[in-house]
């Protein structure tokens, strides 16, 4: 077992003082050290998007991010997006549109959508589909997910053509 390194990580605005072996990923630290289970482990290969978090506001895979590299960065996980006891508007829209089925992909999708809307409050359906390119959902076929996110575009995005993920 490799030696642990002292590490301060800022997660959802809170600084955590940890001791972490250098090969540990952020995903492992979140789930196994901090017992924050909202971030999911899917493929561990950067292919599925279930483990997605935001680092300085941009979507990245926590399964491919060594925790020690993230010193000084602002990490946002799904636990950090609710405002008070209120769901984030993206979460509300996904629920309202019936876009949530098994839910395993949702942490990543909520964070991807949040990052997109923070950067671009008026994404087109095409931009939404491109932004979701890193998130796999095996239940929904994506149509309702894209619809839900488009409903938050200001003004709301145009009606969705037939078909799911591009």
């Amino acid at each position: 077992m490799a030696d642990k390194l002292p590490l301060s990580l800022t997660i959802n605005g809170v600084a955590h003082e940890l001791a972490v072996a250098p090969e540990r990923t952020l995903l492992e630290v979140l789930r196994e050290e901090l017992r924050a289970m909202g971030t999911k482990r899917g493929c561990d290969q950067g292919s599925c998007g279930a483990c997605m978090v935001l680092v300085d506001g941009e979507p990245v895979f926590s399964c491919l991010s060594l925790a020690v590299k993230l010193r000084g960065r602002a990490i946002t996980t799904i636990e950090g997006v609710e405002q008070g006891r209120e769901l984030h508007p993206v979460q509300r829209a996904l629920v309202q549109h019936g876009a949530v089925q098994c839910g395993f992909c949702m942490s990543g999708i909520v964070l991807t959508a949040k990052a997109l809307l923070d950067r671009n409050p008026r994404p087109t359906v095409d931009e939404i589909r491109h932004a979701l390119g890193s998130n796999v959902c095996r239940c929904s076929g994506y149509a309702k997910i894209v619809e839900a996110i488009a409903s938050l575009s200001e003004p709301p995005g145009p009606a969705l053509p037939e078909g799911g993920r591009s």
Binding site: A2, L5, A21, P22, E23, T25, D44, Q45, G46, G49, M52, E58, P59, V60, F61, C63, L64, S65, L66, V68, K69, T112, H130, A131, G133, S134, R165, S166
Partner: protein, 282 residues
Amino acid sequence: MRYAEPETVEEGVSLLAATEQARCLAGGASLVAMMHAGQVAPPMLISLHRIPELSTITEAADGIWLGAMVRHRTVASDVRLRGAMEVVRSAAGQLAHPAIRNMATIGGSVGLADPSTELPVALVAAAARVEIAGPRGRRIVPIEELFVDRFKTSLARGELVTRIFVPQGLSEAVGHHLRFSRVSGDYPTVSISLVLTLEGDTCRQARVAVGSCGPVPLHVDAADQRLVGSRLAEEDVAEAGRILAHAAVPMDDVRGTAEYRRMLIPRLLGRALSLAREHAHG
């Protein structure tokens, strides 16, 4: 596993030279995935993210230097990469998917030398040069000299890629990257990068590289020469495509058989040339 975060290139080089099998960590998008899959188990990782010079982009009189730690996302949005250099921007904006482009770096792509990724292909088409730092100082080599085999570069022990020079090429040149993949976001079955200069409808200069069709990006002078001087008519493109398909040594894998890939090369070349031609005629 040991871990270090050097703050200068020289410090990085001496760490790298001191530990056998030590690996540089760039964005981690491939290396960490390979560690998870048990394909590599480096005794030491040297993360390069605290070395400021590796993240810089510098304009020169005849091209642009991209620091090794510049991420694909940044390359994809840098509009100074135009003309011939656009082939690199075009590839960086299309490869993999958004979260990977947020993590992965150009130096990481070059150092990994994965034959199915696309930046090496685009850099070969762009005739890029690579600056390498090692225990005996720095040297600059044409990118094609760097790629020697699947996942294998000519970097010696203790050497690392510091930056990559993308030449601006001829003034009328255009660059384009075309990928063919089963679904958006997958590795390409075949990809084509090209730089093209037209005079009217006549091809004055061409440089074509093919990805996912051999151990290193495929570039054949004879194919380029077959296009130069032609009007890129159907038979010219077909013949250049045949030269490339003949030189290709693709593998069978889940994305396609070797035979299928050979069949794709001329077709994709035609499509890529049409797109580049439209681009050139604005």
